[in-house]
Every structure is written in C-alpha cells, then in structure tokens.
C-alpha cells in the first residue's frame, strides 16, 4: 500500500485489511493511482535528467566541433595566405627569371655578335691553312655556343609558357631550301649527300612562323647529319591535306645513320636525354633539341615522331598546320631575258640532283642536257661543238665516281673545242673554299649544294653576262653566291648602329654583297642621313643612344611623302616576345636578330632590293605573270 494512502486511511480511521470487498477494490484502485503517479513522476524526472545531460553533452560536442572547425578555418585561411604569398613570390621570381633570361640573351648575344662576325670576316681574308683552321674553329665553337644558348632560352620560354608564335606569310619552299643549304655545309664536310624533295602541290605561300619552322627542320637535319657517318640525309616535305582553312604538311628527315634502339625511342623527346651517355660524349649537344622540336610542333598544331632501325638509319618526322595566305601571291622577278634560250649542260652522277637542276633551269627558261658521268658529258660537249651549238654553261658536280668534277673540268678547259662553255662547279660547301685554286683551274664560279633557284639565277646571270670572256681567264673574279649581282651592286644602304664591333661586322657583310654602306651612330644621325641622301634601304639597330631605332623609324615614316617607302630592317639583340610587334608598329618592315649572319642579310637584300630592270620587266609582263618562279617541283 502506498505510504500516502496508508496515512490517509489511518487519519480517516479506516482499517484497510478488514474493509468490505467493494471498499477493498476501491482502495486497490486508489493505491494503483498513487503508485502510478509516483512512477510517472520518477520516470519523468529521470527522462528530464538524462535528456538534459545528453543535450548538455551534445552542446559541448558541438562547441568542440565548432572550435575545431574555426581553428581549421583559420589554418586554411593562413595556408591560403601563405599560398598566395608563395604564388606571388614565385610569379615575381619567374618574372625576374624571364627578365634575366632576356637580359642574358641580350648580353651574351652582343659579344657573340662580335666574335662570330669577326671570325666570319677573318675567314674571308687571306689566311694560311693553320690560321684558317684556327679561325674556323673559333667560328664553329661560337656557332655551337650560340646554338646552346638559343636552345636553353627557347626551352625556358616554352616551359614558362611565354613562347609566342609569329603568324606571317612565308614561303615554305624557300624556307626548306634555305635550311637545306645551311645543313649542306655540315653534311658535305662529312662527305654526306643531302637531298631535298618538295611536294609540287605545296602552296607558294602559307601563314605561320617561318623562324620556328626553320628551327625545327634545322634541328632534325642537324641531328641526322650528326649521327650519320656514311650515306645521305634526305628531307622530304609533303602536303598531307589542304582545306580552305588550313594546310597540313608532313616533313620527314631520313638518314642512314647509327639509328636508335627501340627502348630509347620513348624518352628521346624528353628534355636532357640523349640515347646514352657515351653518345653524349661522342656527339655532344644539350639534349634539348628534340624536346624543343616536339614542343614547337605541338605549339604549331602538329606532332613529332621517329622510326628507326639501329645500324640502318632513322626517320624523324613532324606534321604542322599552317593557315593559307590570304594575300595574293607576291610575284617574284621573272628571269632576265638574256638567260632565255641558253643551253646548259648538267653533269651529276646523282639522278635526283639532275632532276632538281633540270626543273630549276626549265623554270629559268633554259634548255638543258644531262650527263650522269664525265665520259657522257664529254660526248655531249663534243657533239654540241660539232653542231656549232655549244653549251653556254656546264654545271659540273664536284664529287663523282671514276672522274670527279675538277678532273673533268681540267679536260674540258684543256680542249679548245669547248672554250665557249663556261664551267661552274657544284660543290659540297666547306669542302672546297679555295677560291683562288678554282679560279686558277679556270672555273667561272662555284655553287654550294643544294643549289637554290635564286643562287642559280644570280650565278648564271653573272656567268652569261661575261660570255665573251673565254674560260680559263683567271683574271676574272670567281662567281660565288656572295658575288654582288646587278640587283645589289652599288645599292646604297644606311646602317644605324652605335656599337663599333657590330658596325664593322654588318658593314663588311653588306659590302660583301656589293652594297655601299653609310653608317649612322644613333637614331638622330640616321634620320639626318636619310634626309641628306637617297638610300635604298636602312638597317636600324633598335637600342641606340640619343634616339633609338624605333623612334628614328617613326620619324622617317612620318616624313615620307608616300611615293617612296624605304625598306627599314630592324637589328635587335632581343630574341624575346613582343619585339616583332614593336618593330612592325614602329613602321619597320622586317627584323633580324643579332648576331647578324650573312645568310639573313642576303635574304633581306633579296627581298627588298629588286633589280630595277627586273622591276620594269615585271611591269611589262603583268599580263602573264609568272608566280613563284622558284617553285620548282623536286621531281619532274
């Protein structure tokens, strides 16, 4: 019985145990209610206590969680700040590095310009064999150093994502030919043949980065030559697909060199790898070349690859996409009339070379006959002499089996029957630079292989211009690719350049091409000189005291009356992004990066100094313009 009910019964004097059944039942019900009420209250109190404890714990837990989260947030914030700071520092460091690289490039190139330029000039002078060897070594070492510097700079720029591609019209065919000619110097020095095949379908003009294209091809070609001891290096450019939107080309460089083991091929295009350490020692190089090639082709929307058979040779290939040129084709000068109908004898044991030469000469309007050996050449010469239609010129390859070009020439010169024919030797460059010896033998001139159309035309113009002179007259200067042509001869060039060494180098090179050079030491002097006298062209250094090249150019452009626009070519030591834009914005027509090399100067002169006679011709033959006179099918 509940204590409360017990007390209540006692106070009411009711005796529970003896109560009637009805009362007992009632009392039981009351007792149950009391007990239940106590139970409920206890249960309720217990629930409240437990729930409160749990809520308290839960609150503490949430507070702890919140605190942890706040701490984490603070740490995150701090980490973010740190990361931002680091990123800022890294960006600053990177900018500093880029600036340093640009600076270094400038600083190194300036003295290199002097070293290479003067070494080049030195080689043009009379030297005894030892001195020539030393000077050549200086030049080669300098060139190698410049290549390494350029590689490192390019690689850094590509890595930093600061590499910008030029988008300008250029003649892909000429670019390949130019590269091949440069490569030929090395190739011929090793006794290697170098051949070029260009797809006749190739459009004359494409939009892209000519410099980078040359770099890729030069790199692969240079490698091919480096790793080939015997045989040949073949460059083959094909048009993969052409749409109105793009021109896809595939270029292969095949060699007969040492080849690459299959397991090395994958890492070949990675930076700082060469086939193996012993290869590095044997062949040298930075190991950056192929990775630069790969990255450049990728930047230009193409791919790179290689197939190779150790001991048999390798084929490196790359594909590139160019945009078609929207400009109408630039008309190249048509050949001088005097070349027409002249007869040329070609002597070369290499059938491909014969075909190339035949095609080039056909474009120049010359008729040819080919001989694949010395004896066949003599037969042709003899029958031509008999029919009173002697060859005007014989182009004779130097290297031939049985009887080489020099021996053949000696026979020809010795025979008075053939003295109407002037002889031009096709040499592998670097092999035979003894111009005096060649002149003594009686050659009218020589051309380094592979022969470009431009060189061929210039050389033949000069050779045929003197056709009243019999061969063997060593008093006549020997014709080389450096021989001033009527187009360049006597042209007046203004050179604005403050650095005396650079002045000397550029002036000498220009003079080699037959130009008359006036020098201005700063921009102001250049503008003054331009006002005082008539010039055909200006070479303008960009960084000069008093007034820089940009300012000088702007001044000249503002003063020009519009009837005659003088070509201005920038000379800059900065091989960095944006230079070209600045040059063009200032009104310059082209720019050359120092150190200045002969080939570049030659290209610029050829482009901007047109023979006045050819200009007139061109005007007359407007109705039947010959586009791209030097677009010669490699095989035809």
């Amino acid at each position: 019985v509940h204590p409360l009910l017990k007390r209540q019964l006692r106070k009411a004097r009711i005796d529970g145990p003896s109560a009637s059944p009805d009362l007992a039942g009632f009392l039981r019900a009351v007792d149950e209610v009391y007990v239940a009420a106590d139970d409920d209250r206890q249960q309720f109190d217990r629930s409240i206590r437990l729930a409160s404890d749990e809520l308290f714990d839960r609150t503490r837990q949430l507070e702890a969680d919140l605190e942890a989260r706040t701490r984490l947030q603070a740490e995150l914030l701090e980490a973010t700040h740190r990361a931002t700071d680091l990123a800022g520092t890294a960006a600053a460091a990177n900018n500093a590095k880029s600036a340093f690289l640009a600076n270094m490039s400038h600083e190194i190139r300036t003295p290199m310009n002097g070293v290479l330029g003067m070494a080049g000039l030195l080689l043009e002078t009379a030297l005894d064999p030892t001195q020539r060897d030393y000077a050549q070594t200086i030049k080669d070492s300098g060139d190698a150093l410049l290549t390494i510097i350029n590689d490192i700079l390019d690689f850094s720029k590509i890595e930093a994502g600061k590499f910008c591609l030029e988008q300008a019209d250029f003649d892909l065919r000429s670019a390949v030919e130019d590269v091949a000619r440069l490569l030929a110097i090395q190739a011929h020095a090793k006794g290697l043949e170098i051949t070029v095949q260009i797809d006749p379908q190739l459009p004359p003009c494409v939009v892209g980065d000519a410099g980078r294209f040359r770099q890729i091809l030069l790199n692969l070609g240079g490698n091919a030559i480096k790793f080939t001891l015997h045989g040949e290096v073949a460059i083959d450019l094909r048009v993969a697909d052409v749409t109105t939107q793009h021109i896809g080309v595939r270029c292969e460089v095949r060699d007969t060199g040492i080849g690459i083991p299959a397991k090395r091929i994958d890492s070949l295009f990675c930076p700082f790898t060469q086939v193996d350490v012993s290869t590095t020692r044997r062949f040298g190089g930075t190991g950056l070349g192929l990775s630069i090639v790969r990255r450049l082709t990728e930047l230009m929307g193409g791919e790179t690859g290689v197939t190779s058979e150790p001991g048999r040779g390798s084929t490196f290939w790359f594909t590139l996409n160019f945009a078609p040129s929207v400009e109408p084709y630039k008309t190249l000068p048509v050949p001088a009339l005097k070349l027409k109908a002249r007869r040329i004898l070609l002597v070369d044991d290499n059938a491909t070379n014969l075909k190339v030469l035949e095609g080039q000469l056909a474009l120049l309007g010359l008729s040819t006959q080919s001989a694949s050996s010395a004896s066949q050449a003599l037969t042709h010469l003899a029958s031509a002499a008999m029919t009173k239609r002697p060859f005007d010129v014989a182009l004779i390859d130097h290297q031939m089996p049985d009887c080489d070009g020099v021996s053949l020439s000696r026979i020809v010169i010795a025979n008075p029957l053939f003295n109407a024919t002037r002889l031009i030797l096709l040499t592998s460059s670097g092999q035979l630079n003894d111009t005096k010896a060649l002149a003594d033998i009686g050659f009218a001139g020589y051309l380094p292989k592979p022969v470009t159309l431009r060189d061929l035309r210039n050389c033949l113009s000069l050779a045929l211009g003197h056709n009243d002179t019999p061969h063997g007259d060593s008093s006549m200067p020997l014709i080389t690719i450096a021989t001033p042509t009527p187009a360049r001869l006597g042209r007046r060039v203004l050179l604005a350049e403050d650095n005396p060494v650079n002045q000397k180098v550029a002036k000498r090179i220009l003079e080699l091409f037959g130009c008359t050079v006036a020098v201005a030491v700063d921009g102001e002097a250049a503008v003054r000189a331009w006002k005082d006298a008539r010039y055909d062209m200006i070479f303008m250094d960009c960084q000069m005291p008093v007034m820089d090249g940009y300012e000088a150019t702007r001044t000249i452009r503002s003063l020009e009356d519009g009837s005659h626009r003088i070509p201005i070519v920038a000379l800059t030591a900065d091989a960095v992004k944006g230079t070209e834009e600045i040059c063009l914005a200032a009104g310059m027509d082209a720019y050359l990066t120092k150190p200045i090399v002969k080939a570049d100067i030659e290209l610029v002169l050829a482009r901007y100094l047109v023979d006045p006679r050819e200009e007139r011709l061109q005007a007359r033959s407007n109705a039947s313009r010959i586009h791209r006179a030097d677009s010669i099918p490699a095989e035809s």
């Binding site: 019900a29 149950e32 209610v33 239940a36 139970d39 206890q42 249960q43 309720f44 217990r46 629930s47 437990l50 729930a51 749990e54 809520l55 839960r58």
Partner: protein
Amino acid sequence: MRIHQRIRRDGVWQSRGLGTGDSSQLVLAFSSVRILAEPDTWHELRALYPAARIVACSTAGEIDNTNVYDDSLACTGISFEHSHVSIASVRLSEAQDSEALGALLLSRLSMDGLVHVFVLSDGLKVNGSALLKGLTRMLPPGIRVTGGLSGDGDGFKRTSVCLDQATPVDQVVAIGFYGSRLRVGFGCQGGWDPFGVERTITRSEGNVLFELDGQPALDLYKRYLGDKAADLPASGLRFPLAIRDSNFTAATPLVRTILAVNDDARTMTFAGDIPTGFRARLMSANLERLLDGAREAAKSSCMTLGSDNPELAILVSCVGRKLVLKQRVEEEVEAVREALGTAAVMAGFYSYGELSPSSTLETSELHNQTMTVTTFLEH
C-alpha cells in the same frame, strides 16, 4: 445501417441497440486471445449471429461505447440497408513476406464498387508497414485502408485474428465495404511529443533497430527506463520513437512503438520499419496531450466522412496509450465521444499498431501510439 452491440463480461451478456442483432451481415468481435481460442465462444457467437460473417481479433483492451475492458467479448453486429461487405483472408504461411501478403490479400477482394478496406492483422509476426505497402500498391485511387494489428494485453506473446471460427493459424483479414451510399471517414492522431536530442539511426534491418548514433539502441532504452527496464518490452511503450528522414521530406514524423527486445543481440523490434539513416527522437506523453490527440482523430474522421453525425465509429487505439493512461484510459474514449456526438455507435480495441492515412493527402500507413477513428455513414 442497423447496429446491435452486446458484451460478455464475467460470463454475463449485456446488449445495447434495437432488436437482437441476429440479422447482422457483419459482426466485429474484440476479445482476448484466450477467449477467442475457446470453442464455446464460437458456438455462442454462431448461435447469436446465424447469418453473419464474424470477424474477431485479440486485443490489449476492448472498447465498448465509452468503456474500456480487459478480457471481455465485445461484439458489434452491423446490417447495411444499401451496402454490403466482402471478406478476404490470407494465412501468413501463404506469402513470402508481409508485402506479398498485403498484395495477395488485396487480390482476393473484388474491386467492383469497393468503398473502403478495413484490415485486422496478426500483431506480432507481420511487418505492418510492408503489409500496407503490398495492400495499397494496387488499390484504386481514393480507396483507403484502415484497421489495426491484433493485440495480446501487455504480454506481446501471441495474437489472433479469426474469421467465422476459432483459427489456430496466423492470418490477416480484410473487410471490403461496397455500395454507393456508404461513406467512410478516417482520422489518426497521437499526442506524443519528442524530447531530448535527435539521434541518427546508424544500423537497422527492416523493423529491427540495432544502433542509434553508433550505440546499441536497447542500452539507451534501459538507461531511460531505469528499474522499469525489467518490464521490457511493455515498459518501452512509454518511449515511442519519432522517426523522420534526414531531408525533412515528410511533414510529420512517423511514430514507432516497440514490440519486442532481444537482450543478447541488444536489438529492439518495432511495429514498423526503422530505416537506416533516418533521424530518431524519444517521445513522451501526458494526459492532456493524449486526450487532445484522441479528440482530433475523431474530428478528422468526421471531416473526411463529410458529416458530423456518423452512424458507426470503430476506434483502434494503441496499447502504449493504455499503459500510460492506466485507470484514466477511458478519458480518451470519452474525448472521442465528445467529438462524435451521442448518436454514433462506438466500438474498437487497443492494438499493437494502427492502420490509417495520417491525412487525406497521404496513403495508409502504419502508426503507433495513436488513436485512429474510422467512421461510417449510410445515406
């Protein structure tokens, strides 16, 4: 509709209503497991209602008008003027699981003219949530299911549902109501309030709860019950679980009540599903809130019926309410009477689970700890 009620307490019959009820079409009989198992009970019932289908179920308390009795035999005989009933039953052994059971049961009912389904189910072996899932899936739109799970006092040992005879097998019976002039209303309310922290159901299988917040759920109940833990599972009815999905998609939480515990596995079995990932809070109740709930259930039922004057109301309330209310349990039945008015005949029982939609917008669900009121009106 003519309704006759009679109740047998301590061997004495008392009756209420016109006539003797011997022409009843349907008799609902609520009693204890023990009484329903006696053959004499059925001889008596058959003699009293010669023409009727008799549906009986065991309870945790019989409702007769506003009285609540234990161990009585409470009978309500109904004869419709314009309507009729059809009754289907399925034995538990006939189906693979509770959901299949529900589907099978429905398939045995004619859909032609069906107005309402009232279900009386085994109270311990059937998962009420699954049963309703199976039942309602193929149900024509607008047709509702109400009813309850049979009970066994506060014993939780054995329940029984009978159709026309003492049945030794476990089964579920569905009464289909037919007729265009019959209207049925329903209402369902609890009155329990969640308290304390909300926990996550971290482990459960069907209607078996293993863990809340990674702790054994039974431990939590024992901690809250203290000394009363010895009276599990009945004492567990003091703390139903309010469960809701963690996205708050349902407007009101579902209430789940405990059916059994397993001390070895430290698990608890509830009358409906306890899905993993749902949130749960303990609930408690007081007298006033429970009475409010009963009143609201009756009002909702009149509202869905579309009349304030139902002829018959069948009440299914939860055993948990009865255990909490104890001697005051009749006050909730009186609250229902207040809301229904004096004309309605009231019958019903205390169950182990209530079946009803919680609102007009929802399908039927299993509820616990609620008062559900199904009202009928023939016009």
